[in-house]
Structures are given as structure tokens and as C-alpha cells.
């Protein structure tokens, strides 16, 4: 059964529809990447899931219930939408303690999450002096207080150094491995490629793709194929006649698109052409993402 279920979710701010009839589900035991360019509506969707913003239409439920109806929210969902959302004058310990008490969680949970996020040493320090990385850890610590089945993170690696990014990535993987559902947003496909099992891609508030990571690169791999033959010109003609698009590649190769490597091999065999190279170009997630969201980027710059 899906843990987070979003059905026909719609949110308007004035004349602008920020989230537009969005539906998807998030399953337990995996990291679901929530991808989209800046301004695609990722944060707004997450805020509607945890009840901070009210949808104009549609529903977002967790285990079949609205967030606001959860009796003890922190044992069901841990959400980090903004790492800066801590009062700078309060110590890390007091911040977590107040949250734990609000849900009747024992004090030892505070110590446990401080340990898991490596924050024991700074528990007594005021959050105002924390680096972004430490604030991020504190925010993540808060989400783990109730050992929830669902975790929601909005751009958790933004502004982190490589070590911090690695730590967050490993944490997400281990949380999913513990059987929890992890929904994590990002505008960086390369980041998701290393963390997520499943991807939900949105652009301008609409669902663009809801797919396994491996699936996305395959189907959107408008994969070009690099071909090398002795008689380039002739084979290029034969390919074009068969409906492929051919252009010249590096070092007298042909770059063929619109036809799979298998079909190109068949064609070569039919014409009795000896291929010296036949290499499908695997499309990176980055390219697949650009391809998917090309029409839905809010502000696109023009390359000079």
C-alpha cells in the first residue's frame, strides 16, 4: 500500500496555478526523488502534503489520512522543508526537546537523534551559530525524533559540502533500507541519480514522469548510436533510406538516431556491410531530465 497518496492536487496563487492536478504515490522502502526545475511546485506540493498549505482541489494523504488528522504526527511523518527553520537563539537540544515533548516522545529520543546525526558535541550550542551543514543536520535530527515511517525532505543537500552531501545521501539510502518511505526533492538530476529508486518529475506544477530511475534513462534515451564502417557515405544513405537520422561524428564515425543499435546491426547484415563499431550512447539522467522539462522551465536563459 502506498504511504503517501497525492490525488488531483491543485494549488493556485492568484492567477497562477502552481500545482496543477498532480497525482502520484510514494511507496515504502525506497527513496522517491521529486524532481523539477526551480519553481515547478515541488515545495508547494510538499507543504500541502504536511498540511502547511491548503490545496484548492484534490487531496494528499499519509497512510490514508490527512496530515492534520494524524494523532501523533512525528511518529508517522518526519518532514524537513527548510533547514533554516530554527530559532537562532535556542540550543539544538532545546529545539529538539520541545518538539519531542509536543508529541509525548521520551527525552532519550533526543539523545538518539543527536547521536545519529553526529550533533552530540553541539547539542548545547545555540543554533544561530551553526553552519548551513549543521542546521541541515539539526533539521534532519528533528525529522527522526519519532522514528517515522515516512520522511519528506525538501532540497536537503542544497548548500552542503561534498562530505555533507555524501552523508545525506547515505542517510536516505539507509532510511529506505529500514523500510521507510523517503520523498526527497531536488532540482539536480545528477543528485537523484545516485540516491533515488523512483522518480517523480514535475514541471509547471504538472506531472511529467513517474518512473523508476532505470526506466527513465532507457525510454528517454533518444539514444544515438555511434557507427563506424569503411564506406561511410554509402551506409549513411542506406540508413537514411531506412528512416534514421544520420550525422557525421568524431573521427569519421556516424552518429545515428531514430534507430536502435539492434536495427542498425540488422540493416548492416542485410546490406553485407562490416561494422567496425556499433556503440549505443547511453543518455545520462541529466539529459533525460532536460529533455523532459524543456517545455516547462519557467525562466530559461539564452546561451550566449
Amino acid at each position: 500500500m502506498s504511504v503517501i497518496e497525492v490525488r488531483g492536487l491543485t494549488k493556485r496563487y492568484g492567477p497562477q496555478t502552481v500545482v496543477d492536478d498532480l497525482s502520484f504515490t510514494v511507496e515504502a522502502g525506497q527513496v522517491t526523488g521529486f524532481l523539477g526545475p526551480n519553481g515547478a511546485g515541488k515545495s508547494t506540493t510538499m507543504r500541502m502534503i504536511i498540511g502547511l498549505a491548503a490545496p484548492d482541489r484534490g487531496t494528499a494523504t499519509i497512510g490514508g489520512r490527512n496530515y492534520r488528522d494524524l494523532a501523533v504526527p512525528l511518529v508517522e511523518v518526519g518532514a524537513l522543508l527548510d533547514a533554516g527553520a530554527v530559532h537562532g537563539g535556542r540550543t539544538a537540544y532545546d529545539h529538539l526537546h520541545a518538539l519531542a515533548v509536543s508529541n509525548g516522545l521520551p527525552r532519550k529520543r533526543v539523545d538518539a537523534v543527536l547521536a545519529r546525526t553526529g550533533m552530540e558535541g553541539v547539542a548545547g550550542k545555540r543554533a544561530g551559530g551553526f553552519s548551513l551543514g549543521m542546521r541541515q543536520r539539526l533539521g534532519i535530527a528533528a525529522t527522526l525524533l519519532g522514528e517515522p515511517r515516512v520522511l519528506i525532505f525538501d532540497e536537503p543537500v542544497n548548500g552542503l559540502d561534498p562530505e555533507g552531501i555524501r552523508w545525506v545521501r547515505d542517510l536516505m539510502r539507509s532510511l529506505a533500507a529500514e523500510g521507510r518511505a523517503v520523498l526527497v526533492s531536488s532540482h539536480l538530476m545528477s543528485e537523484m541519480a545516485q540516491t533515488a529508486d523512483h522518480l517523480i518529475v514535475i514541471g509547471r506544477g504538472r506531472l511529467i514522469a513517474d518512473t523508476a530511475v532505470s526506466e527513465l534513462t532507457r525510454t528517454n534515451g533518444e539514444g544515438a548510436v555511434v557507427v563506424r564502417v569503411s564506406d561511410r557515405a554509402r551506409f549513411a544513405q542506406q540508413l537514411s533510406a531506412a528512416g534514421a537520422t544520420v550525422r557525421d561524428g568524431l573521427e569519421s564515425s556516424l552518429v545515428v538516431s531514430g534507430m536502435s543499435a539492434a536495427d542498425i546491426g540488422q540493416l548492416a547484415a542485410y546490406h553485407g556491410v562490416a561494422l567496425s563499431e556499433l556503440t549505443p550512447q547511453r543518455v545520462s539522467l541529466e539529459e533525460a531530465f532536460m529533455e523532459l522539462t524543456r517545455d516547462s522551465i519557467e525562466f530559461s536563459g539564452v546561451a550566449a
Binding site: 507543504r47 504536511i50 498540511g51 502547511l52 498549505a53 491548503a54 496530515y67 492534520r68 494524524l70 494523532a71 501523533v72 504526527p73 512525528l74 511518529v75 511523518v77 518532514a79 522543508l81 527548510d82 533554516g84 527553520a85 530554527v86 530559532h87 537562532g88 537563539g89 535556542r90 540550543t91 532545546d94 526537546h97 520541545a98 518538539l99 515533548v101 509536543s102 508529541n103 509525548g104 516522545l105 521520551p106 532519550k108 529520543r109 528533528a142 519519532g146 522514528e147
Partner: protein, 265 residues
């Protein structure tokens, strides 16, 4: 999960959590310290000036001389500091984004705001009463040393007047929380509060006479009537004036609850 305490989230827990949040901020304690330093400082200064005021007072002024009112007069500045306390309880969470975290842990918004109002008002009420009694006990001996008429706690009307001072400050704290919720920004809420308690009273004389009915219940104006012991012919039932202000503040608070429930964070 084997825990000695079963996780649950009722109003008691919300209250407990909000109390931890309130007491774990240095700004809470600084504001309270400021309330007493400034509040009692003004009492000391105004008490020391009492001798001179008595010297130069006319016969009519001497008849209306109110030693208790001179002590409780410190409310004028104290109300601003109590207001800051009330405003910050809400706006500091908006400013830092903490409100999102708070409402994620405690999605029942009415409960969260009720806890905040209850705690901040209780703190303001206790601090306000302590301040008012301290101002009375510090101010009267200082005035006695200058051969100016003074009051005793046992004199008629003194205890109600001093208590009214603390109640008034508690009510202003509630108003401040309401403004904080409606404005969601410290500067806006504070400017509005200053406008209500200082600016409007300062220019009240310029307004048309039909507005005097409103000013009878306005902070610093009519609503402060119960803080004195000498009857004011304008306010035959001074507690009615304070009650009127409290009702208006209750309306502001009701609007704040509605806004807090409905608005996106």
C-alpha cells in the same frame, strides 16, 4: 518501539512544548528583565519628582492627588515591553520559519495558538502584577521621604488599582499576540501596537467628539482608569472601561485565531 512513555499529543503536551520554547530563549528573560529595570526605573524617577510636583501643584491638583496612580503610572512604558514579549512569541517563529516546524509537529493550529496565548498571557500577568506591587512598595516610601501624601495598601481602592495595573498589562500582552498573528512580522505588529497605545492617545484631542466613546475604552486612555484611586468624573465605573478594552482585544484575538487556522504557512 518500547518506550516508557507512550507517544501522544494532547493539549497538555502542546502547552509543555511551548513552555520549553518560551523559557529556552534568552530574549524572553531579557524582555522580562527589561520590564522590571525600565518599569521600576520610571517609578523611582517619577516618585523622586513627586516632591517638586506637589510644591507647584494648585489647590485643585492637590485635591486630585493620587499617590497610587503615580506608582501604577509606570504601566505606560511597561505595556510596550509586555507587548514586545507577546509579539515575539508569534513573530519570531514566522521570521525564522520555525512556524512550519511547529505546525508539522503540532498540526492542530487552534491548540498551538491557544497554548501560546495562555503561556504568554500568564507570564505577562504574573510579571505585570509583580511589577505593579513592586512599583507601589518602592514608590510610596520614596514619596513619603519628600513629605508628599502617600497611600497604604490598606487604604480604600489601593489594592484594586494595583491589581488593575497587572490585569491591564496582561490584556495588552493578548492584544500583542493577536497583532503578531495578524501581521506575521515583528516590525509591523510593533508599529501597530505603538500606534494603538501611544500615537492614538497622543492625537486623540484632534479627533471628532463622537470618537470619545471609543477612547473611553482605549488603551492608555479610558481603559487605564481603574489604575487610579481618585474617582475621575469622566469614568464613573472605571472597571467598565477596562472590561470594554478586554472585549475589544478578545475580538482581535478571535480574528487572529481565524486567520491562523485558515492561512497557509
Amino acid at each position: 518501539m518500547s518506550t516508557d512513555v507512550a507517544p501522544r499529543a494532547g493539549f497538555g503536551r502542546t502547552l509543555q512544548a511551548e513552555w520549553i520554547k518560551l523559557r529556552s530563549l534568552r530574549s524572553t528573560w531579557y524582555t522580562l528583565a527589561c520590564l522590571f529595570v525600565v518599569g521600576l526605573g520610571i517609578t523611582i524617577l517619577s516618585s523622586n519628582a513627586a516632591g517638586q510636583a506637589w510644591e507647584t501643584a494648585t489647590e485643585a491638583e492637590r485635591l486630585a492627588w493620587d499617590p497610587t496612580g503615580r506608582s501604577t503610572m509606570t504601566y505606560i512604558v511597561a505595556q510596550l515591553i509586555v507587548g514586545v514579549l507577546g509579539i515575539l512569541v508569534v513573530t519570531s517563529e514566522y521570521a525564522t520559519g520555525l512556524m512550519g516546524t511547529t505546525l508539522t509537529a503540532m498540526p492542530r493550529r487552534t491548540r498551538v495558538l491557544a497554548a501560546k496565548v495562555l503561556l504568554a498571557t500568564a507570564v505577562a500577568l504574573v510579571a505585570g502584577e509583580v511589577l505593579m506591587f513592586a512599583a507601589f512598595f518602592i514608590g510610596q516610601p520614596l514619596m513619603a521621604g519628600q513629605n508628599v501624601p502617600t497611600a497604604h495598601l490598606s487604604d480604600p481602592g489601593v489594592v484594586p488599582a494595583v491589581i488593575a495595573g497587572g490585569l491591564y498589562l496582561g490584556a495588552i500582552a493578548v492584544l500583542a499576540i493577536g497583532l503578531g498573528v495578524l501581521m506575521r512580522a515583528t516590525a509591523g505588529a510593533l508599529a501597530t501596537l505603538v500606534g494603538i497605545v501611544f500615537l492614538v492617545p497622543a492625537v486623540a484631542g484632534l479627533f471628532p467628539s463622537w470618537m470619545s466613546g471609543v477612547f473611553d475604552f482605549w488603551p492608555t486612555l479610558g481603559a487605564a482608569a481603574p489604575l487610579g484611586t481618585v474617582p475621575d468624573p469622566d469614568f464613573p465605573h472605571p472597571w467598565l472601561n477596562l472590561t470594554g478594552m478586554c472585549l475589544a482585544i478578545a475580538a482581535v484575538l478571535a480574528a487572529a485565531f481565524i486567520a491562523f487556522r485558515r492561512r497557509d504557512i
